[in-house]
Amino acid sequence: MNENKTPKRHLGLKASSAISNTVIHVLLVIISIIWLIPFVCIVLQSFRVESTYQVGYVIPKQWGLDNYIKLLDTNFPQWYFNTFICAVVVSVTQTIIVLCMSYTLSRFRFKLRKALMQFMLILGMFPGMLAMIILYRVLDDLHLTGQYGSSVPGLILVYVASSGMGYYVSKGFFDTIPKSLDEAARVDGATRAQVLTKIILPLSKPIVIYTILTAFMGPWGDFVFARYVSQMFPGAMNVAVGLQSWLATDTMTFNNYTLFCAGGVVVALPVAILFMCLQKYYVEGVTGGAVKG
């Protein structure tokens, strides 16, 4: 009986799947438009010359690079420089620390290992902002905050120092490299350090790139701690705090809206291009991390 029905149903399935595929294509186009609108708008508005405030239309009446040129007269280059230095230093040092941490927790079985991991899990349940308040005061005591000029060293110190807590994703990766590789190398007389540098690291390119990428992107988006440490001194801000300060009040928005758009484009472009180039590694890391939990 079943066999008799099969051809009929098959046809029906084909037709219905063609319809559903069309529907899905339409849906995907709509979704893409929704996702792209803000980015298209911000780019278009950054080229608007006729006014600096918010308007109800998107296409500029008068096009020009005025906003981008004006950026050079503001503190924006300083903010950009601050953030860029942070991002470069943090991406290198944080990667080293995270890899040390995750490799050790993945490969070594030592006393207190379990306790250490549980302790860090509990530690992670405290809102990070709690620690920021006091770290900010300590940095102030050490003259590393905005009122003493630059906030970059203080920011780097704090970003890097607490980065060991974020070991989960890369530990998950190291867990998937067979232990027999280590053991074989150890039998051949390699020290533990040689196992890491000669065997594991060459196999870990995806996770190293993932860690560098996320570490590099972190400082570009940090708002809270950068705000504490900058103490709202213009020279000590990073891009997030600086650009937010341009929109903080209605008067500021009135004067700086298009400037903000231009600044946003200048910040987003290199970061987004870098991200898109290394997207593959990011996807691997994110997926692996979620699956491992």
Binding site: S32, F39, Y57, V98, M129, D141, F223, L247, F275, M276
Partner: protein, 511 residues
């Protein structure tokens, strides 16, 4: 509810199993609490037993040890040096010298620890100088530094005691090794072992120091602050000292009327919204993300890569830019209102950020825009791992598309991403950026206007905490109370959910 045997439990349908576990978790709370207390009591007892054993061992080492060992009790590392382990001995000795110097130096360790009890005696008010006939600044204490360095010094003392104990133990071990006729490890061997069998210590030294100093220490400090009156008016060095106040701040937080402010109601309201927000933010992203991923991955869909790339843009572009921009798009004179007005859909601009309900819905909707791409990536990875033959056999059995989704895809996803859902729930509770950059917590809640930090309708606990610590009226003690309460809520939720999750995977399985 009747307790089931294992066999009966296994025979339950899937959702009944979950429900059974859920009910049983609450039924078991009293018993678990009791066991927990017993467990804590037991571990305290065994802790003291262990301390006792340590003392006995120390005594025995002293009584049976030779003169080198005995001297080491006073001069750390002496035994090591005398037995030829120069490197270890010198390190011990340096540590002891530094410790003693730090403790006895004026304004050193002894001073900080001794001041911990009062957090400073002499405030920064000016003293009257009779000879000069004017008020002058006199040297004064600094409560902030006392608390900070006091805690650090306590850390240091514990570290010293531990090191001293290691020093004594090493003497004992060295004696035993020499007695059995073997050779001691030289300094060279020690250094070598740091890249070999002790390599984990080398690797962990830097990260753990960082965590200890920049995470553990601040958290301990802030927990202590919850028991002081540290705020803008008592900042400990320029206007007034702060001091211990016991549980007063917790009482304030749970009082109906403190100087006309109802903190308990404010806290309750913010907490409720935080939980609602976290729930919707997590699950809307989760299900819509899976939905989008399934659409993109469906057979017959073209340019899959293009759709994915467009969505991933929101991850690639720093969040603060997109959030600030989108926030401005929805203002009264923003693009959305402009478009709606010019197309004639509305006559008057909609105040998206002025209406409590509307602004709450808006942050959840915009968070979907931010969050779907992550879930889309994660779900894509997992969907590809679902064995295709499951679907094949389901199709042969005539299962509809919805049936396949609800019986295969969803359970599989939920099983694998259970822990992820939990962490994303808790991180949404602390999702500062989305709320603060979109609404700044607003619109202001008039009922809570007196509470520190001008609480708004979209304020989460974490943004409230931030507001309390910035601006003109900073109340660090209140912020730290809020922080502690956030921790308690997060810990409780995690505890409950972990109990309900399908057995947490054994990490060794993967190796």
């Amino acid at each position: 509810m009747k307790r089931l045997t294992d066999l009966e439990y296994l025979m339950l349908p899937k959702w009944n199993k979950f429900w059974y576990k859920f009910i049983m978790f609450f039924v078991d709370i009293p018993a678990n609490l009791w066991n927990g207390i017993k467990g804590i009591g037991g571990s305290i007892a065994s802790f003291f037993k262990a301390i006792g054993r340590e003392f006995a061992d120390i005594g025995k080492t002293f009584a049976e040890g030779d003169w080198k060992t005995k001297t080491s009790f006073l001069v750390m590392g002496f035994g090591n040096i005398a037995r030829g382990q120069i490197l270890r001995g010198v390190l011990f000795l340096i540590f002891e010298v530094v410790f003693i110097w730090y403790m006895i130096t004026p304004f050193g360790g002894a001073y900080w620890v001794q001041m911990l009890g009062s957090l400073g005696l002499q405030g920064p008010e000016k003293g009257y100088d009779e000879i000069l006939d004017q008020y002058i600044s006199i040297p004064h204490d600094n409560s902030f530094r006392i608390l900070l360095y006091g805690v650090l010094t306590l850390f240091f003392i514990v570290a010293f005691i531990y090191t001293w104990r290691v020093n004594v133990k090493q003497n004992k071990i060295a004696e035993e090794i020499l007695k059995s006729g073997k050779k001691l490890r030289s300094g060279k061997d020690d250094l070598k072992s740091l890249v070999d069998d002790q390599f984990h210590k080398t690797l962990l030294a830097l990260p753990l120091t960082g965590i200890l100093v920049f995470t553990v220490m601040p958290i301990i400090f802030m927990i202590l602050v919850a028991f002081t009156n540290y705020d803008g008016a008592h900042n400990g060095y320029t206007n007034a000292l702060f001091t211990w106040v016991g549980l007063d701040n917790f009482k304030t937080m749970f009082s109906w009327d403190v100087g006309g402010v109802n903190y308990a109601a404010t806290f309750g309201e913010v907490l409720t919204w935080t939980l609602i927000w976290a729930f919707f933010a997590t699950f809307s992203n989760y299900f819509l993300g899976i939905f989008v991923a399934m659409m993109i991955n469906k057979k017959g869909i073209r340019v899959k890569k293009l759709w994915r790339t467009i969505l991933v843009l929101t991850i690639a572009i720093p969040q603060f830019i997109s959030l600030l921009y989108v926030s401005k798009m929805f203002t009264l004179n923003g693009l959305i209102n402009g478009a709606l007005l010019s197309f004639g859909f509305i006559d008057k601009a909609i105040d998206f950020w002025g209406d409590p309900m509307l602004s709450r819905i808006m942050v959840i909707v915009i968070n979907i825009w931010i969050g779907i791409p992550y879930l889309m990536l994660i779900a894509t990875g997992i969907l590809m791992n679902i064995p295709a033959d499951l679907y094949e056999s389901a199709k042969i059995d005539g299962a509809s598309g919805w049936k396949q989704f609800s019986k295969i895809t969803l359970p599989y996803m939920l099983f694998i991403t259970g822990p992820y859902l939990l962490t994303s729930f808790t991180s949404n509770m602390n999702n500062f950026n989305v709320i603060y950059l979109l609404t700044g917590g607003g619109p202001t809640n008039p009922a809570a206007s007196g509470a520190s930090g001008s609480v708004g309708f979209t304020d989460l606990l974490i943004t409230w905490l931030f507001k309390i610590t910035t601006g003109s009226d900073t109340k660090y003690y209140l912020a730290s109370v809020v922080g502690i309460l956030v921790f308690i809520v997060v810990a409780l939720i995690s505890l409950v959910v972990y109990n309900l999750l399908p057995s947490v995977k054994n990490e060794e399985d993967f190796q």
